[in-house]
């Protein structure tokens, strides 16, 4: 596996806020990453610094082995589709696509036209007059058709309905299979994208709290359900993130791997063991940052 992004000790300090605090990670070629976290956690700031659109206060960034600032060799290989992208007032959909086509060497014009049809975007419509969902579709088309070796989607589907989002996921996977590249999806619709993600980075309050393969992450946590009297003793000495008593019944979420003996014991006691969805896990971890640190997940 070739490393294409290397970030070391990245920090972004505004006057009185540390938006990104000492974040380090690497991204490998031809993988789909999820950059997850709550609003304002620092996801967008990280991506802005990765693409040299914002400056880091300290830390080192290498993309394709070089620093991205004023580096067209690097920047022409990154497509960063962001929710807040602004377009000139006079631009129509076709103008934005034409300019994007000129900037990305691997641009596929036929694919872009096909996507215009699929998302039912009127190419001659002024971008200012598009609905929120249509505006998101413009970004999605640019991101997909650019075929950039590093494609970053930052909340790409605001205002898109479930059908269009599903279409985006399918198109992304299809095109990724045909033209492998590194994709970073930043989102808070975690459940929807979790099946696509191979690796997950979670940022909370400017800090990277999870950097783990999705499969490994899934085995990190489980939910336990059963009579409270039997659940409680089982929880002793374990990292519990959530307790939900319901009468004499109880559901609890636990972090940490389960040994075979644990499994057998739970079964013998008649307790139900359920996997925790990625979304639930992340909600629990970012809801209560202290516990995630104790759990030692980094």
């Amino acid at each position: 596996m070739t490393t294409i992004v290397e970030v070391k000790g990245l920090t972004k300090q505004y006057k009185d806020v540390t938006a990104v605090n000492n974040v380090s990670f690497t991204l490998e070629e031809h993988k789909i990453y999820g950059l997850l976290g709550r609003n304002g956690a620092g996801k967008t700031t990280v991506m802005h610094m990765l693409t040299a659109q914002a400056f880091a206060t300290s830390g080192d960034i290498r993309v394709f082995g070089e620093h991205p600032f004023e580096n067209s060799r690097v920047l022409s290989q990154i497509c960063f589709v962001k929710e807040s992208q602004r377009y000139p007032d006079v631009f129509r959909v076709c103008d934005a696509l034409a300019v994007a086509a000129s900037m990305y060497p691997q641009w596929d014009a036929a694919f872009a036209n096909d996507l215009l049809d699929r998302f039912a975007l009127p190419p001659k419509r002024n971008i200012k007059k598009l609905s929120r969902g249509m505006l998101s579709a413009v970004g999605i088309i640019i991101g997909l058709a650019s075929r950039a070796p590093l494609t970053i989607f930052d909340e790409p589907y605001l205002g898109l309905d479930a059908v269009a989002r599903e279409m985006f996921y399918e198109l992304l996977l299809e095109d990724y299979a045909a033209h492998p590249r590194t994709i970073v999806l930043s989102t808070h619709l975690i459940d929807e994208v979790s099946r696509m993600l191979e690796h997950v980075l979670v940022i909370d309050k400017g800090q990277l709290i999870i950097n783990e393969d999705t499969d490994t992450l899934r085995s990190y946590a489980y939910t336990l359900a059963g009579p409270a009297a039997k659940v409680e003793p089982f929880l002793e000495g374990r990292q519990v993130t959530r307790r939900e008593p319901l009468g004499s019944f109880m559901t609890a979420s636990v972090i940490g791997e389960l040994s075979r003996a644990d499994r057998e014991k739970a079964q013998a006691e008649g307790l139900e063991l359920l996997p925790v969805s990625l979304q639930q896990l992340i909600v629990q971890l970012t809801h209560n940052q202290g516990s995630s640190k104790e759990a030692g997940i980094r």
Binding site: A52, S72, Y87
Partner: protein, 226 residues
């Protein structure tokens, strides 16, 4: 294609705004003056041509906020953006200067359009040879373009408050200067200095000013964020 050239085509995606609109305004002014001059017995001298320089000043201000976020969003470097933007301005300047000079020449050979209207060829300003007129127009055009671009770059680089402070500072310095000039009775000397030179020679003085602004814009845009 060079990536700065792609920025030029980004600016010119809607050619009407940069290439046609200025002339729609200038020609409207020209036509109105032409009709008026037809009713007058004496020749009509008008400064309607100044509108093209006001337009380019405004264009310099609005170009950056309109296109900078998209250019950077699509992976252009700041240097590519700056070079492409300045070249776009220069192309507009050369194009406008050629049109002005040609129409000025036409104005002279047509006997002031037959109505005594002096619009594209004004006394003193366009006294020099055709080449001098052309250079003067280009230099003035670029001066106003960079004035606008500097305002946009300060706003991009430092934000609204800093732009206001800069403009207020410039106003204060101007006011103080004119106060002291009046106080010490230097106005006649200054006018005398200007009068010694032709309009073309004076236009050459904008060159160092434009270059300083060009450099400032580059430094500011290089440290701008989206």
């Amino acid at each position: 294609m060079n990536r700065s050239a792609k920025i030029i085509s980004l600016h010119l995606r809607n050619p009407f705004l940069l290439l046609a609109l200025p002339w729609v305004i200038v020609f409207s002014s020209f036509l109105i003056n032409l009709v008026i001059s037809g009713f007058l017995d004496e020749p009509l001298y008008t400064g309607g041509l100044a509108s093209i320089f006001i337009i380019i000043f405004v264009t310099g201000i609005t170009l950056v906020p309109q296109t900078f976020p998209l250019a950077l969003g699509l992976g252009a470097t700041r240097r590519e953006y700056y070079t492409g933007t300045v070249l776009t301005g220069l192309m507009m300047g050369v194009f406008s200067a050629v049109v002005i000079t040609l129409l000025g020449w036409l104005e002279q050979v047509s006997g002031s359009w037959g109505t005594g209207l002096h619009f594209f060829h004004l006394p003193y300003v366009h006294d020099g040879s055709l080449l001098e007129q052309l250079i003067l127009s280009i230099l003035l055009f670029m001066f106003f373009f960079f004035c606008g671009l500097t305002i946009a770059a300060i706003y991009r680089g430092f934000g609204r408050a800093s732009l206001l402070i800069t403009l207020l500072g410039a106003l204060l310095i101007g006011t103080l200067l004119s106060f002291f000039i009046t106080q010490y009775g230097w106005w006649m000397d200054i006018f005398g200095w200007f009068a010694r030179y032709t309009a073309f020679e004076l236009s050459l003085w904008t060159l160092p000013l434009s270059l300083v602004m060009a450099l400032m814009c580059y430094v500011l845009i290089r440290r701008s964020v989206v």
